[in-house]
Structures are given as structure tokens and as C-alpha cells.
Symmetry: C2
Subunit: 156 residues, 2 copies
Amino acid sequence: MATTVLGKDPRCPVARSLEVLGEKWTILVVREALAGVTRFSDFQQRLGVAKDVLAARLSTLVEFDVLERHSYRAEGERERSEYLLTDAGRDLGVVLASFAQWGDTHRPTGFGPVVEHRERATNELLHIAFVTSDGREVPLDRVESVSGPGALPAAG
Amino acid sequence: MATTVLGKDPRCPVARSLEVLGEKWTILVVREALAGVTRFSDFQQRLGVAKDVLAARLSTLVEFDVLERHSYRAEGERERSEYLLTDAGRDLGVVLASFAQWGDTHRPTGFGPVVEHRERATNELLHIAFVTSDGREVPLDRVESVSGPGALPAAG
DNA sequence: ACCCTGGGTTGCAAAATCAAACTCAGATGC
DNA sequence: GCATCTGAGTTTGATTTTGCAACCCAGGGT
């Protein structure tokens, strides 16, 4: 399944992201990795996913350079492997945060948000939004989508 | 499938979002809806998805208030139904854009981005990022996740 | 009356998921 | 030295989803 592109446009960046992230459990595996989980058994226990599925997802994430498999040896233990986020994996923090923001806004639990994102230095509460290159936020209703340099002549 | 929560924490906003959006094709259906597609046959042709799966995904999206089903009648034609985005659906523009941004950055095609987001008034190029409540962008490496008011005592 | 088209449903094969059992290798206890 | 435990998977078989093709139905056109 690694090279099957969903939908008809292999250039669509959403479809290409989904090729890596679109299978069941993958995003939750990334969520755990962002929360600091590195070991197979910890992923497995925290998610409650079947071990064969977890092994497949971790392999896919390693294959697409979201995670790296490392071997390490703790004091007086045998060698084990752990899964560490790459830069690409850490960048998924934005994707995960946008999912979380949508879920908190449109499917609230009534308890308030479970996780918040804050600026380390100032402790200010953060959210995900469109911004200009000089860092000014633009509200969603003033954003338009236009076709970019990689678009095919006819389609958008 | 509508009430099965993936993973162990039903309060996790990512998992709750994935309950609505996590099945195969769902995100691409939303992508097409954001691009202005409203009719069953247009979704079907543009995505190349099986009709039964498309019908199931549209029903789920209607059920969870991402789309609304409307009836309309064009000149000299019979009544048909169309699917229009709700506010919740339009808010998914941020989620889709973050997917697109990650795909363009970490799985580039070599042709450049297919779609770009611009501010309507100024035509400035936009991207997705963390911002403070007063609209100042904060780079990812200065962002930390902390548990919020809805978190359970022990877990984060 | 017959055909066409949009918007689905039905039935069946193929693929993915699940849960439990099994493997394997190195540490630990006896 | 042998049995046992633990982490990290693989194998096996049942259950669910998905994919695909065929069918259905209603309204309009001819």
C-alpha cells in the first residue's frame, strides 16, 4: 500500500500526506511519539492496538522518515529498539494540533481541552492559524486557495 | 463505527476528530467540498471512490455536522441533493492546509505546491503555524504541550 | 412506452484489523 | 545448566472494512 495514491491527483499534497498518515492508528502513533513514547510496548499499551498493526504502522512511519529506529541498551539489559521522531515527525505537531483544535471546538467533551499548547518563554496560550510570512494572523474567512506553481493546467 | 473511539482516551481531541475524519477517503471528500464540490456524482468522478463508500462517508460527515444535505431543483430537472459545508466543515480548512503544508515540505513532488493559500485583500502568501492570542507567530521549537483543564489527574 | 441520468443500495470478493498464540534472544533466578 | 521472564515482534485464523460491479428507483425527455 505504500505507493498507492488515494484519489486521482498524485500531486495533491493532502493525498500524499495521507499516503503516510492516513491509515487507522497512524496519527495516534504519532501523537504518542510527540508525547515522548519511544518503545514498542509503551505504544502498544497506551493505544491498545493489535501488535501486528502497530508493527506495520511503525515500519511505514520509519519508511517515510517520520520516525527513526534506534538500538539502545539500558543498564544491565539487552539491546532493544526505540522509535525517535525525525524533523519531519516533529513538524507533524502542527497537524496534530490542528486536529486537536478542531476536535475541541466542534466535538467538545464538556471538560475543556485535555492538552494546551503554550509558548515556552512566556507561557502564553497558543492556537493554530493561517499567518503571513511576517507572522501576522489572518482569519479563515479572509483566506483564499489559489493554484500554485505545481498545479496542472486544467485542474486546481 | 460511529461511536467507537480509537485508542484508550475518549477525551483526546485528536482521537475524537479521527472518529469523524479518520476513515479512508473522508479527508479527501472534505478537500473536494472545500474546493466547491457539492454533488454526489462530482465527488465520485473526481475522487474515483466506490459509490457505496462515498455514500457512507457523506452520511458520516452529515451525521457529525461537517456537511449538510440540501435538496435543490435546477431548471427543468427533478429534485436532487447537494452537500454543503457547515461552519465546522469550513474550519477543517486549517486541518487540510496543515496536511498540505506537511506534504509539500516533507514529500515534495519537485513541481512546487499545487495549491497556495493567500490573504484575499493583500494577496500575501500564508502558512499554518502556532500563534498567540494577539496574533504573533511562535516557531514550533518554542511550543510546549501542557495538560489542560479537561485532563484526567494522572495522564497527559 | 422506452431510455437516460443522478443518487444511491445490494451482494460478493479482496484486503485490513483484531485477538490470541507462538517465537526468539538475552537477562535473571535457582 | 535449566527454567523463567520480558520486550519486541511474527503467525494464525476469525471478523470487519473496502472495493467493485450490478442492480434499483424516480423524474424527465422523446
